[in-house]
Symmetry: C3
Subunit: 385 residues, 3 copies
């Protein structure tokens, strides 16, 4: 075990110990300022990764501290790995430092989504392994869709500014693939319990995601386009939040806190592909539809699918990121004028295939490296008082 850990550490050192190119500082120009502005969006995204995704997962009441530790590890493995890739121009052109950090954060976001599917059923060091396999797969899919990688899709013809397809759907589908080998019968029958405090922490994570989502979608958008983009994202989130309330009470009689914490965000997921390309009115409607779809997923589909495949998607990432992400990618076909429908559909198709297949294989690989004794329990790997 320790050998594996040390090996991982050494590989890591080797990978990142090499010198990155250092940008030469210039005078304070408008360009520098635009770069610093971009950095603030990078920080907002970082708040989403650690505090947002991290605490959203704390809803599993006995596993909260492990979930937060896992979040730390997933972010800390994904960012240097992706940064290494992008600063060396592997699978895609080399970009500026701040762009590289933002792209690395996007990879980390997708990885966190993926990890949400297997949360509580793998060991801490296996999250690191998951990250080391996930990031290259993610980078490959991103390269194909957004930079003309392998020549499959003409560059610039897939609309996905805020990552509905590349980040959300991909991460969810990868996770979905992985759960096939990462759910035992015992894990399938163990209930995932929440309580008042774990719910409140989860709502904290949810709100942090909601607040900074406009910066996520506009992270790489030019200053002039930012006002429209952030208005669209905010209205989409308002739409999904309202729809979630109406649908959770409609479908369940009472409000499920988990529906609110999750589905309220579906508007942010779904508006990603079109956030800088549509109008606020349409964004609001996309948000409402995404909130409805996501709530329906949590309230109706999740139970059905789970008992069908006897596998567990711990956080329900299929219903928050998977379906709303695909919906967002498809919505572009209807709301973006001059879109190339073939490219958009091909991009979605490729994402589904790479995500599911890579997830299936990765799940299998991780399953071979060992198994937790008790699912969803801090005590197994943490010193608890």
């Amino acid at each position: 075990m320790n050998r594996i850990r040390l090996t991982l550490l050494i590989i890591l050192l080797a990978l990142t110990g090499m010198a990155y190119a250092v940008e030469v500082p210039a005078d304070n120009t408008l360009n520098d300022v635009v770069n610093v502005l971009k950095y603030y969006r990078a920080i907002h995204v970082m708040a989403m990764l650690l505090v947002g995704f991290g605490f959203l997962m704390v809803f599993v009441k006995m596993y909260g501290r492990t979930a937060l530790t896992a979040t730390y590890l997933l972010v800390s493995i994904a960012i240097p790995l992706y940064f290494f890739k992008s600063s060396h121009g592997i699978m895609g052109e080399a970009k500026g430092m701040v762009d590289n950090i933002i792209l690395a954060e996007f990879a980390a976001a997708s990885l966190l989504i993926c990890a949400g599917a297997v949360l509580g059923r793998i060991k801490l060091w296996q999250y690191i392994v998951l990250g080391m396999i996930f990031v290259p797969c993610y980078a490959l899919n991103e390269w194909i869709l957004l930079e003309g990688g392998l020549g499959l899709i003409p560059m610039g013809t897939v609309m996905d500014t805020g990552g509905s397809i590349v980040i959300h759907a991909f991460g969810a589908l990868f996770g979905l693939g992985a759960i096939f080998s990462l759910t035992t019968q015992k894990e399938y029958t163990t209930p995932i319990e929440a309580d008042a405090t774990s719910d409140r922490f989860s709502l904290l994570g949810s709100m942090v995601l909601w607040v900074f989502w406009p910066s996520f979608c506009s992270a790489l958008v030019s200053p002039a386009e930012i006002p429209l983009t952030i208005v669209n994202v905010i209205l989409a989130l308002c739409g999904s939040t309202l729809a979630t309330y109406f649908f959770t009470t409609g479908l369940r009689k009472k409000v499920a806190p988990a529906d609110i914490a999750n589905a309220a965000l579906a508007g942010g997921v779904a508006i990603g592909s079109t956030c800088n390309l549509t109008t606020p009115g349409i964004a609001f409607v996309i948000g409402i539809l995404a909130g409805a779809l996501s709530t329906f997923g949590f309230a109706v589909l999740q139970g059905k699918l789970q008992s069908m495949i006897k596998k567990v998607d711990t956080c329900g990432v299929l219903y928050l990121h998977g379906l709303p992400g695909l919906m967002g990618g498809l919505a572009a076909l209807f709301v973006v004028s001059g879109i190339n429908p073939g490219s958009q559909l091909k991009g979605i198709g490729i994402t589904i295939v790479i995500g599911l297949v890579a997830g299936l294989i990765t799940g299998k690989v991780i399953a071979l490296t060992g198994k937790r004794a008790i699912p969803y329990e801090d005590e197994e790997e943490l010193i608890t008082e």
Copy 2:
């Protein structure tokens, strides 16, 4: 019930489904950059609305998840409604996208303050109704005070950059009006309980509000004025925080966590009217006075008033937002040179009248639409494990 909900949803769709005007992106200019800077303040305000106000209200230990859900709904109804109004130039000139979002957030802040007064005693969908009535009333008062609406006050003669009067006092007084019809005898006698965990969450909300308050007050201030404004706000908050500690121990012997979580913020409330117009030394003194007043309100006035009128102001919004807000509005008379005292006083008077009267009527209307069975309990409307 469901019919009401669906009707609300449809009205909403109709209202906001209409296309908003879309700004044409230009090249990256200094102006674009100034706009993006403003957006960051908008995001800070959003953090205050959801995480700040939301978690501040979690002090009610059995009602925390419902309070957070209500926060989500209040924000998600207020922003599209106000944005619809302002982007169509209703009651006030049409403005830029980011300005509209900030003004919409201000409306949401005032609504959240108002909701704090009735927290735990209305149903979730009634928060949405509250928002739909509140926002137009808020917009009317704002229009009269700040944009010369109805010709009552010359435009630009009421000093209220950070909203001591228009946002804080108005919301608190509206809430105060509403509680007259929204407190039953049973609710009056039910204790509102907190515990160590609900207090810690409440202090989290408080700190998030404290941290981002400078951005709230400077949200619409020009870049050149921002340094002075944020210094004034920070010093006012330091002043109220220190004063709160001295007065809570002086008046109660021990420290009341609720005093700290609330009254520490009173400096931010009171500095609103003069935040860009005074000096740091005076700002610090205003903060100290506001903290003292607010703590005195929580420690002494709240009990007295409550037993006098037999009505409950759940969060004590009168003592955090009402009195310090009015104090801030009046402080402008002493510290802003060249102020028009008639306008300032008229603005305060109009706010008191519209706030209280609209609140009274709204409370009556909401009381007619139904009643919770048990106050301050998540269980009534949420699925709790």
Copy 3:
């Protein structure tokens, strides 16, 4: 007691009631924009002070609300005091408003670190006294190291952009000095207990610190240098987070949540001195070494040192801020080309001497003013339900 409190209040009023110079607003220029950009970093640092440091200390399960109240008081005393100093050009040249606020926040950060060492063993008003003594000592040391104060070190020859030495090591050593008079036998034997909820709050504080750390280190850095600086800080944090996981499991078998919450941040502490002067690869390595050192400190040294000196460093500030801070200062000798090693070593030596001696004296002074009855308990000074 009350007399002391009132006296403190009056001194404070006297100190800060004096008018600060007010900057004259100019037109919106690139310079104004750069100033507003700096303000955003100031706000990020403020989030670290209150939510970050504050909640990190909530791990003491019975003392969380007092710890948060103390955080509020420490920040609210340090900022006006330091701001008063710096805006009057005492010990150092007068600077712009935003620079003054950032420098004041740095002083508050160092004070919070120091307070972490005595947390739970002094009364609330003694935190204010601590702040009033600490800030001038901090300012003196800062002045000597960074501005050529007393002519001891040539100005500009100590490398410490992000405060490894001046902020982190100084605060930790001051706290270490203070615990000698501020640990009774009873306090030494009282266990400091955490639970699942206090740990989750502590991890929240930790993550908020992690997220905004790049803004802390780049707060006073010019826009052109910011991209490199923030990349270095993020990679250093990733490095320490991964190293913490490997070392906590290696040294303790299981993961200690307190190690994760604390040592994960050691990379941020250690990269401070060189954050804008090194390359991402080296930053990552510095982070790994700092995480390893800090985890070794918590897992091995803390117990040994504690039983040797029979004194308690509540939060283990020596292991998060003290040793990694010194390491960061020394690392500059190896990674910054053209550094003046004499100055750097002299700066570190002076910090150790002033920190320890001033801490020892301050601890003695505070010990003379009274003593808590029960350590680490909210109940002693708070109204608890």
